[in-house]
Amino acid sequence: MEGRPVAVIECPEEIPCNPCETACPQGAIQIGNPITRRPRLDAARCTGCGLCVAACPGLAIFLVKEEADTAEVTFPYEFLPLPQVGDVVTAVGREGQPLGAARVVAVRQVRTSDGTWLVTLAVPRALSSEVRGMRRL
């Protein structure tokens, strides 16, 4: 999926939850019945709108946009202070381990946010499947 952001769902267990499915206006996420089934993404339908990212109670959905050698990773963020566009922050991986400096390219909220910010970092493409957050400021 080069050039456009697509959702990446990291929800590995069968838990009773489906707001991601309900939030997606494109019908790109399917859970069905029973509610404990794992979400499945139809990446072709995903427009990268981020509604599911902000709706997910598990904060388990990210957006990844890959270009030739750079990438943008978007993650939900619920801490203060908020980063500002242009700030250089420390990108972190799934274990909170630092993965290097990264520039903040977007900080926004969407309809499903209710306080949850979507922060987008520009990272080297090689790190697009590693970076999943930033160190708190």
């Binding site: 619920e78 801490f79 203060l80 908020l82 306080g115």
Partner: protein, 105 residues
């Protein structure tokens, strides 16, 4: 310590300040909050000492069930401070043991 700014709950809502007295020292409280919250916000963590061994105790459950937070309030001992709201001028004392009941007149 007060949580002044919160990413989900927003800035601390403005409320009236009520002054209470703890072991003779005046501390501010937010109107309507339980005594225990005001004390913790002021950095007070020891609320009472136990009857036999004089060990310190502070809030444990915060919902009125464990009685670890009881203090003497306006002369009445064993008041659960985690579920008793502050009032202007309230006099609160660290409770030693079972505390002393006011003289019955």
């Amino acid at each position: 310590m007060r949580v002044e700014e919160h990413p989900i709950l927003g800035p601390l809502p403005k409320t009236e300040t009520v002054w209470i007295e703890v072991d003779g020292k005046k501390i501010p409280a937010r109107a309507g909050e339980p005594i225990a919250a005001a004390l913790l916000a002021a950095g007070i963590r020891v609320f009472r000492t136990t009857h036999r061994r004089g060990e310190p105790r502070g809030p444990f459950c915060a919902v009125g069930r464990c009685t670890d937070c009881v203090m003497t309030v306006d002369g009445v001992p064993n008041v659960r401070t985690c579920v008793t709201p502050v009032r202007e001028g309230m006099k609160i004392e660290t409770q030693r043991g079972l505390g002393r009941w006011p003289e019955l007149k």
